[in-house]
Amino acid sequence: MYFLASLSERRRGQLAALSIAAVVIVVGVPLWWRTTETYRAWLPFSQIKDLSKLQLHLSADVEVVFARGTLTPEQQKKLPLTQTQDEEHAVDENTVLRYTHEIKYRTATIMEEEALGKPTAAEADLSLHMLSESPCGSSVVYVIPEVSSLLPENVKVYIGQRRTAILRINAEMRAGKTVEQLLAVLKPQIKQVLQVMSFSHTDITAALSDRVRFNPGSKESMTHSMRAFTSSPGYEITFSLLNPDPRSHRLHWDIEGAVQTYIQPFLTKLSPLANFSIDSQMLHYAMLGVNPRYNNDRGAFILHADSLAHVINPVEARLGSNAASSNPVLNFLLYVPDAQHSPLYIQDHKKMDVPSNAFHSPRWGGIMVYNVKNLYGPEAEFPVNININMAEVMGVFLTQLRLLVGMESSPPPPGFLVAPCGSVGLADWELDRLMWSRSVENIATATTTITSLAQLLDQIGNIVINDNIAQQVSSAVTSVQLAVAELEAGNLGFALQYSKETILASEKAFFDPSLLHLLYFPDDQKFAIYIPLFLPMCVPILLSLLKMASEARRRYREKQAKKD
């Protein structure tokens, strides 16, 4: 057939094949590429890559104030003086932590001397606080001579309710030394105080547990890291009163008043960290699910520590929760034992009674057993009206709440006296410590979220990246950089705020419903779809192009042969 077609017809055929091929390549392929590509908005991948190497620099300001009688006149002349204490730890190959304390040494003013002259440390603390308010994140240490009667005999350091500490210095320490020598002697003591009041390496590394989880050094640090709730923008607190025996006891509790008086001030002080919402409920006929044993010597029912672990589950099934929010829930239960099983005491592993008669579970909440048997005699008419003493109950719940929020529960070093926390239930320096670890935790979590999201989007080419996700990611990256900068500058309040913003943005971007990767096509399926569409079209074109090419080559060879 090829030989029968005329030259012009052959020419037309070749032109047709060429033009079809041209249209397919020039117009078809780009059109197909465009229409099958997924929309992916631009993401700052290079900045995100930088984020994977986390270098956190925490810095705090410390003032050390020398009271009268601690320094000789020559030493006093050298002050005021500023020193910097710097420490660097490489946690793993991607994370580096640097701690800086800017310490300013000076002598006390007249008003501060007057305040330090008060009879007790607590009053001194109060007057010092009236004089000046330390900004968030900073600490002040007052150094007093050993002749001062401010601190009791065996106490070396007193840590107040705000951000001040009082340190007693020995005579041998300051005799016949220059200022530099004195400061060098003081340095470890100041460091010990700052370990308690300001950030410490163990705290911060525990906060990094999302990025790097350590083999915990001690059982204590393991329980501490497991106990506190992870950082979340909001928490829900539920107070429940469990009454298994409404026929005998009619319970009244003024939960609203109690929450307003005891819990709300604590939560208001914690408001930079998260939002808290509170609700309460009463459950009737709710049993504990564990049978307590009757102890003849005590004349009471005993609940041993080993069986406590099984108490929570049957109760939890009955507790309601707010269906609308996904925030973590802290449950605080008050259990009033029924008349047949009263009084009920909790014993610890050493078979000793627990004074608070309460226990708590990490990341869940707490349960307190409230005995009412002593409030009425055997001749009482059932049901007995009982008013619950909310002060006692709230004291225990507040302790449990402090532990669950993340406060340090380990005892302070020997020689230290820590002031009781006051009516709010939270000292300023405890709040500072929480804010430091929260900021670090938020930054660490946000960086892992952003880097893993970027990795995921990079790997799976089929996921559509909408503009809103790109915007969330960009704003998360900006906030992380700002938070790290503020931490370095020492502005704790701003650092926490930026870290909260970055967590919100990164979580929102990561959990966006549109990012679902459902477009997994195995390669054989892809080929199975494309081949029936494109192969019938391509084969004639390819064959005719091949024919044209072989003919052109043949003519060229003929021409070459003719020339020679």
Binding site: A309, I312, E316, R363, F511, D523
Partner: protein, 319 residues
Amino acid sequence: MSLSDSLISFRNSFISPRFVQNSAGQFFSSGHTNNWAVLVCTSRFWFNYRHVANTLSVYRSVKRLGIPDSHIVLMLADDMACNHRNPKPATVFSHKNMELNVYGDDVEVDYRGYEVTVENFLRVLTGRLPPSTPRSKRLLSDDRSNILIYLTGHGGNGFLKFQDSEEISNVELADAFEQMWQKRRYNELLFIIDTCQGASMYERFYSPNIMALASSQVGEDSLSHQPDLAIGVHLMDRYTFYLLEFLEDIHPSSKTNMNDLFKVCPRSLCVSTPGHRTDLFLRNPESVLITDFFGSVRKVEITTEPKFSIHQSYSDSDP
């Protein structure tokens, strides 16, 4: 589906699966504080009664051992209890002669009927649910949660069929688990699957701390146990039947470990060969208790005396 992406994925399919991070060994000596369970039945129609019974029997065991409904996501693709063909309405039996009603009085089904889709399942696992989803339909696990995932239905080599119309592949499942790992949504994961050729579904896992069990190897079928002549269908699958028998002996404080679970349903009883995979799991299976996944044993601490005495400040707090 551009050409370059297909070429890249073509190349990637030749690359061996990623191995467990070496540093992961440090991570998981720490333990869990809460338990979750995701139980999915993927088949509908009356003759697949046994799949619903499978899922409900695992649900029942898990609830009995302590996991509350708020921590269980139960997905049933069809309603057998109230099916028109059920001669005993409101019941789902697992043993013939109607010995054990696994439906009970207290069942909370979170995803029902046509809501059980591959998309919803993956959304639950990865957490990418629309903001209006209620709490009961979410998997709100954190980095200290142990999760039990149980799947049952009709499957094949590398896929599991959902609702008779779509399927989930083992690669998608492995990717979903990897995303859970990236966002630290689990501490340890136990994956149990009771379908034909179930072992193919866990072949592609590459995230750390996952232990997997399947009812049959690749190329084998999982068989059903016994029909009930009154109801007219097979009531349970063999693997889950013997699994339920095993779990009925477990109570919240028992110390049975995972090695006993691997021995459930030997070939003589099951006809198929159950398989398991523990290479990704960091603890020794001997030290893993059954109740670490099927139950919910809480860690508890005694509250010591408060550091501050509130009664001194407020003496007039009488309600």
